[in-house]
C-alpha cells in the first residue's frame, strides 16, 4: 500500500486524513452499519475515486465528514481536514468550512437547485455567507465563475431560474457555485450518473480542468469504473461499508489485489468487449417494417396567437426488424427511442408514416385485429416497481395476459403455464402469492419478463429494461434475456442508452439522435468501425475501465480543443 507511510512532508500536504471512520444508523430499534472502520488519505491536487455498488457506503463516508448525516446517523473515528477534526464539530464551526473550504456537488442536478429563486441569488448567497462581499462584487465573481465552467451567456443566465437550464448546464452551475470560494476540496457525489453520456464526458473534463486551474483536491464518488479510469489518481474500493482495496489507479486496474475489485473489473469489462452473436443470414421476411415514421408533439404555445411549434420526437425514421434477431436502438435522452417503441406497441399514434407488423398495417387495424396484434408484441419496461400493479399478486399479474388472450383456457392449463414461466425466469413457486412490494427490483423485472412472454409473442420490446437495476442484477437479467433468446428464438427490439449492454445482447443496432436515424448496421461493425461522426462521438464518450486508454482519449480531446484556440 503506497500511501500508509506518512513522512513529515506528506503530513503537511494532507488535505484530508481519515482514520477508522465508522458510520451507523439507528432505524426502528436496529443499528445498521453503513461504513466500517475506513481509513484513507487525500493529498493536495489529488483526485480520489470512491467506488462501489449501491449500499457500499460511499456517500455516507463523505456526508459524515461534512456533517450532513441524517439525524439518526452517528459517526465515529477521525476525519482531519487541514489540521481540523471534522467529526463532532459544532454546527457553527461546520458552516465555516462547508461551502467554503470544502464544497460538494450532488447527483441529481434537476432538484439540487432551488427553482424559486434566481441562479444569481443562490450563488451570491454563498459569497455573502463566506466572503461577506457586497452584491456588485459578488455578482461579478459569479459571472466570472459561470464563464469558467463554460456556461453560455452567463450574464443572462445569472438572472434566470434553474428550470430554464438542461441537466448538464445545471451541473455546471453547481460546479461554478462550488468554486466561488476557491475551496481546497471538491466532493462530487455521482455528479454525472443522471446525465447523458456525451454530457458526462464534458462535465468530467470540466472537473479535471478546474482541478488543474484552481489547485483543488477532488473526491469523486461513482459506481462506474470507466469514470474512475478517466478521472482519478487514486481509488478506494468499498463493499458493504468496508475497504476492499485502496491504491493508485494503475495498480487497481492493472493488478488488482482484492477479490471484489477483480469482480467489479470483470463485470465492467465483460460488457465492453463482449461478443455479440452475429447472425450471418440473408434478410428474411422482416417481421416488423417501419417506414417514414414521424411523431410530432405540440409544444405549449407562447401566446394565444403565435404559431404552433412542434417537437419532432421521431423524424422520418425507417427501419426493419428481422425475424429471430435482436435489434438494438441506442440514443441519448430525447433521441426518440422510447417514442419509437410506443408507436410499435400502438400506445402512441404517429403523425406520419406506416408500421407494418407480421404483414399487417398496424395503423389500419380494428379492435379485434388490434387484440390479435397485441398478443404478438409484448413489452418490458424500465421501472420494475411501477410496471407491476401493486394490488395484484404475482400469480394474478401473470394470469392477466392468459385471461385476455386465451379466455377459454382452462384453469389447469393456465396454472401450468404460469408455473412454467416462473421457472423459466428463475423464480420459485413461492413467489406466486406475493405482492410486488415484497420483491426486489431484479425479481420484479423477472416477473415482468415472464408476463411479457407468457402469451408467446413474436416480438419482445425491452424499453430500457435493465437501466434501473444494480450492476450485478443487471448482469443477471441480461443473462436471462440471452438464455431466453437462445432457447425460444426470440425476436427483440432492445432499447437502451447504455452502449455496453447493447453490445452484449444485440445483433444489429440503430443509432438515434433527436428523432433521426443516424446509423444502422451489425453491432460489431457499428461499435468498432462507426461511420457517422455522432456515433463516433457517442462511442468515444463512454468511459472505459482502462486508465491508459482513457488518458489517450483525454489528450486527444484536449488536442482537438486546442485546435480551435
Amino acid at each position: 500500500m503506497p500511501l500508509t507511510q506518512k513522512t513529515e512532508q506528506e503530513r503537511r500536504n494532507d488535505v484530508l486524513s481519515v482514520s477508522d471512520l465508522s458510520v451507523s444508523f439507528k432505524t426502528r430499534g436496529e443499528t445498521v452499519v453503513a461504513v466500517n472502520s475506513l481509513s484513507f488519505r487525500l493529498l493536495e491536487n489529488e483526485v480520489l475515486g470512491i467506488v462501489g455498488e449501491s449500499g457500499s457506503g460511499k456517500s455516507q463516508t463523505v456526508l459524515s465528514i461534512m456533517g450532513l448525516l441524517e439525524s439518526n446517523g452517528r459517526a465515529k473515528g477521525s476525519a482531519v481536514f487541514k489540521n481540523k477534526e471534522m467529526l463532532g464539530l459544532p454546527e457553527q464551526e461546520l458552516n465555516k468550512i462547508r461551502g467554503n473550504e470544502m464544497a460538494m456537488i450532488f447527483q441529481d442536478p434537476m432538484s439540487s437547485l432551488n427553482p424559486y429563486i434566481t441562479i444569481g441569488d443562490q450563488m451570491v448567497g454563498v459569497l455573502k455567507q463566506h466572503k461577506k462581499q457586497h452584491k456588485k462584487e459578488a455578482r461579478e465573481r459569479c459571472i466570472e465563475m459561470l464563464d469558467a465552467v463554460r456556461l453560455p451567456n452567463p450574464e443572462k443566465r445569472i438572472d434566470g431560474y434553474s428550470f430554464e437550464l438542461s441537466g448538464g448546464m445545471r451541473q455546471r452551475v453547481m460546479i461554478a457555485t462550488a468554486l466561488l470560494t476557491n475551496p481546497d476540496l471538491l466532493v462530487a457525489d455521482e455528479p454525472t450518473t443522471a446525465l447523458d453520456v456525451t454530457v458526462q464526458e464534458k462535465i468530467l473534463d470540466l472537473i479535471l480542468e478546474v482541478r488543474e486551474r484552481f489547485s483543488m483536491s477532488v473526491i469523486l464518488i461513482t459506481h462506474d469504473l470507466g469514470v474512475v479510469a478517466r478521472t482519478c489518481d487514486n481509488v478506494l474500493v468499498l463493499k458493504n461499508g468496508t475497504k476492499q482495496e485502496y491504491g493508485n489507479i494503475n495498480q487497481i486496474f492493472y493488478s488488482p489485489q482484492a477479490e471484489h475489485t477483480r469482480e467489479l473489473l470483470f463485470k465492467s469489462k465483460e460488457l465492453s468487449d463482449a461478443q455479440a452473436i452475429t447472425k450471418t443470414k440473408t434478410i428474411e421476411n422482416p417481421n416488423v417494417c417501419i417506414k417514414n415514421l414521424s411523431v410530432f408533439f405540440p409544444v405549449p404555445k407562447d401566446g394565444l396567437f403565435s404559431k404552433q411549434q412542434h417537437l419532432k420526437a421521431v423524424d422520418n425514421l425507417s427501419v426493419e426488424i428481422n425475424k429471430g434477431e435482436v435489434l438494438g436502438v441506442v440514443g441519448e435522452s430525447g433521441s426518440g427511442k422510447s417514442t419509437l417503441a410506443r408507436c410499435v406497441l400502438k400506445l402512441q399514434k404517429p403523425s406520419n408514416g406506416t408500421i407494418s407488423a407480421f404483414s399487417n398495417d398496424t395503423l389500419k387495424m380494428n379492435r379485434k385485429q388490434t387484440k390479435e396484434f397485441r398478443k404478438n408484441i409484448q413489452v418490458v419496461f424500465q421501472d420494475p416497481f411501477s410496471s407491476l400493479n401493486p394490488r395484484m399478486t404475482i400469480a394474478e399479474t401473470l394470469n392477466e395476459p392468459l385471461k385476455v388472450f386465451f379466455p377459454k383456457m382452462k384453469q389447469r392449463d393456465s396454472a401450468r403455464a404460469i408455473a412454467n414461466w416462473l421457472d423459466e425466469v428463475g423464480l420459485d413457486a413461492g413467489f406466486l402469492g406475493r405482492y410486488p412490494h415484497e420483491l426486489s427490483g431484479g425479481q420484479c423485472q423477472r416477473v415482468a419478463i415472464a408476463r411479457a412472454l407468457i402469451s408467446e409473442p413474436k416480438l419482445l420490446i425491452c424499453d430500457e429494461a435493465v437501466s434501473a437495476l444494480d450492476a450485478s442484477i443487471r448482469a443477471e437479467i441480461i443473462e436471462l434475456l440471452l438464455k431466453l433468446k437462445r432457447n425460444k428464438k426470440l425476436t427483440m427490439l432492445f432499447i437502451a442508452h447504455d452502449l455496453a449492454v447493447v453490445n452484449k445482447i444485440c445483433d444489429r443496432v440503430v443509432v438515434m439522435h433527436q428523432g433521426k436515424l443516424i446509423e444502422q448496421g451489425e453491432t460489431k461493425k457499428i461499435f468498432q468501425h462507426p461511420v457517422n461522426q455522432y456515433t463516433k462521438d457517442l462511442l468515444d464518450s463512454v468511459p472505459v475501465p482502462d486508465p491508459r486508454l482513457e488518458k489517450e482519449k483525454y489528450l486527444r480531446r484536449l488536442g482537438n480543443k486546442a485546435k480551435y484556440f
Binding site: Q378, S440, A468
Partner: protein
C-alpha cells in the same frame, strides 16, 4: 437502483393496518368511536326516560345521578342524556350517509376526469376550482329556503358540499396511476379500457378513498350541525348535536350542562375521525413505504 425490501405482511391493506396500529392517537380514536357508536345505539335503553318526555317538575335541573337525569334536563324538562344519544344517532347517520353521497360523487367525477384527461379534464377541473371557492354552504341554505327541509334534501345537499376535495384527490391519483407503467403494460397486454379501469386503476384508488371517507365524515357532521344550529337542519321531534348546542348556547348562563354535554360529544367525534383520517393517510402514503436506501 434496486434495493432490498424487508418483507411485510401480504397485502397493502394488512400493511396499512399494521402502521395504523402503531399510531396511538388513531388507535385510541377508533376505540372511542366504537364506544360512542355503541352508546348512541344502546344508551337510551339504559335510561328510564323517553326522548320527548317532558317533566315540568324537573325543568333545567342539574345533572343528578339519583334522579336518573345523569346529564341533567333541558328547559322543557326533557332528559338531556337521552336527547344527546338521539341527537348522536342523527348526527352520525347524516355523517355516514352524506359522506357516502360525497364520496360517490367525488370518486366518479375525479376518476372520469383523470382518466379521460386532456381538454375534458382541464374543463372539469376548472369547474371544481370555481366551485371550491364558493360559499357552498350558502347555496345549500338557499336550497333549503326555497325547497323546504326534507331530511332527504339535507342528506343530498350536505353530501354535495364536500365532494370537491375528494374529486381533486382522486383525479390526481388517477393521473398518477395512468402514467404508471403497469397501465401501459396492461394496454399493451390487450386489456380493454373497462378492464384497465376496474382491475388496475380502481383497486389502487381504494386506499385513498378510505382515507378521505374518514376525513369527510367529520366535515359532514360539522355542516349538519351548522345547519341545525342555525335552525335550518332537522326539525323536532328529531334532534341533532348541532341543534342541542344551539339550545344549550341560549341557556348557557343558567344551565351550562345543556351546552357542555352535546358540545363534548360533538367535539370528541370530530377529533376522533380526524385522528383516524390523519393516521390512515400516513399509513397509506406510498412515500412512507420502507425501503432501505443507500
Amino acid at each position: 437502483m434496486t434495493t432490498k425490501v424487508t418483507t411485510h405482511t401480504n397485502s397493502l391493506l394488512g400493511d396499512a393496518w399494521n402502521t395504523l396500529k402503531k399510531n396511538r392517537a388513531a388507535l385510541v380514536s377508533v376505540t372511542t368511536m366504537a364506544t360512542m357508536i355503541a352508546l348512541v345505539i344502546f344508551g337510551p335503553l339504559l335510561s328510564p326516560y323517553a326522548v320527548d318526555q317532558t317533566d315540568w317538575y324537573q325543568i333545567s335541573s342539574r345533572p343528578n345521578l339519583a334522579s336518573g337525569h345523569i346529564f341533567g334536563t333541558d328547559d322543557l324538562g326533557r332528559d338531556l342524556f337521552v336527547r344527546v344519544m338521539y341527537g348522536g344517532r342523527v348526527s352520525l347517520m347524516v355523517g355516514i350517509v352524506a359522506t357516502i353521497v360525497s364520496v360517490i360523487i367525488g370518486v366518479t367525477y375525479g376518476s372520469i376526469s383523470g382518466f379521460i384527461g386532456g381538454k375534458t379534464d382541464a374543463l372539469m377541473m376548472r369547474v371544481v376550482d370555481v366551485l371550491y371557492a364558493m360559499p357552498f354552504l350558502f347555496f345549500v341554505i338557499l336550497l333549503m329556503v326555497f325547497f323546504g327541509r326534507s331530511i332527504l334534501l339535507i342528506f343530498v345537499a350536505i353530501g354535495a358540499v364536500n365532494w370537491l376535495d375528494i374529486a381533486r384527490i382522486v383525479r390526481g391519483q388517477t393521473l398518477n396511476l395512468k402514467g404508471k407503467e403497469f397501465v401501459d403494460a396492461a394496454r399493451a397486454g390487450g386489456a380493454s379500457t373497462l378492464r384497465i379501469v376496474f382491475k388496475h386503476i380502481v383497486p389502487n384508488l381504494l386506499g385513498l378513498v378510505v382515507v378521505y371517507v374518514a376525513l369527510t365524515v367529520p366535515q359532514v357532521i360539522l355542516v349538519e350541525s351548522f345547519l341545525s344550529f342555525l335552525g335550518l337542519g332537522v326539525q323536532e321531534p328529531m334532534t341533532s348535536w348541532g341543534a342541542l348546542v344551539n339550545q344549550g348556547a341560549r341557556q348557557m348562563e343558567t344551565s351550562p350542562w345543556m351546552l357542555l354535554f352535546p358540545a363534548m360529544f360533538l367535539a370528541t367525534t370530530l377529533f376522533c375521525f380526524n385522528f383516524i383520517g390523519d393516521g390512515l393517510r400516513d399509513a397509506l402514503d406510498p412515500k412512507d413505504r420502507t425501503r432501505e436506501e443507500e
